[in-house]
Symmetry: D3
Subunit: 71 residues, 6 copies
Amino acid sequence: MPFVTVKIARGHSIEKKRHLVEAITDALVTALDTKPEWITIHIDEFERENWAVNGILHCDRHRGRHDETGR
Amino acid sequence: MPFVTVKIARGHSIEKKRHLVEAITDALVTALDTKPEWITIHIDEFERENWAVNGILHCDRHRGRHDETGR
Amino acid sequence: MPFVTVKIARGHSIEKKRHLVEAITDALVTALDTKPEWITIHIDEFERENWAVNGILHCDRHRGRHDETGR
Amino acid sequence: MPFVTVKIARGHSIEKKRHLVEAITDALVTALDTKPEWITIHIDEFERENWAVNGILHCDRHRGRHDETGR
Amino acid sequence: MPFVTVKIARGHSIEKKRHLVEAITDALVTALDTKPEWITIHIDEFERENWAVNGILHCDRHRGRHDETGR
Amino acid sequence: MPFVTVKIARGHSIEKKRHLVEAITDALVTALDTKPEWITIHIDEFERENWAVNGILHCDRHRGRHDETGR
């Protein structure tokens, strides 16, 4: 029954996605005592020109600044 | 005023989408006694490598298993 | 597999909600040739002070204006 | 940067929610090699009269049927 | 802490997106007395064949009608 | 046509919400050259026990820490 949406930047390999949905499913099963077959996960990828923190698009951030703010 | 989001796998024809938004609009008009021009619908398509049930990405499912679980 | 979210104003009776989820499920089954048991629907109710069109909260709208704009 | 929404039925204790956000955060850190302070999680609780599978509101389901369908 | 999603039709230039996230961030800072670095914005673009008002896909609308309804 | 969702902590006054939807509407009109009557905004309030950053629920954060991390 739980429905999970994960918004992440585009570009992760299918291996990472495979690992991600297994790990999230395990997290919900353990924490909520639910069954894995009841859990649906949607990975909602965004382009870096469609995401902003502090009023700045991600595609415009310098790596240094990105690291500095921890975002 | 109602706003509807429909998450479905990518790959439906525009004819099916046309039919879908007509049918959902009719459903809301009938059930809620609202007007069709107040209803907005967003079809949010996902790739099969971005959707998982039971900890398994859809692109990794065998058709047999897919049918078996009814998902 | 389809996941539907319907955002509507709070205050509909459970009978209307019952009718609503039946009608939307039928709409998807017919339009997409999917099975009803694969369809999940979330009714996401909002308070009128949390919804705005044209920069005006719904709780601040006069009925006359509301009718006029068709929203 | 990842933003996670978890839709679950209302009624989980704060201890379970605490466990849930820790476990999901760990899952993302491990699978995506990201940092925990970049991860935001929103637990979006729904009432059982606002969730439906197979065209049936959750509040209308008999426990037996619920178990049977695994949902 | 605020998280904003903006659903708009695909096709806006990066300059418009840059302006958009600055303007929304300013709006939240002013209205809620929050800090810009706490605000995350996701621009969620849709295709015109995936958006409908009044039961009609946007890609099927005539410009005249589009203008007439103000949508 | 644009649809905006703003997730913020519960507890803002209606005056702040009124200001918020005006300011966001202006932001979109200016940045995207759209009309205010086409813009819908949903304020989606969350409880502090339903939001987490860094694996910690907001209701569990000490004010000091909250300020320190800027979240």
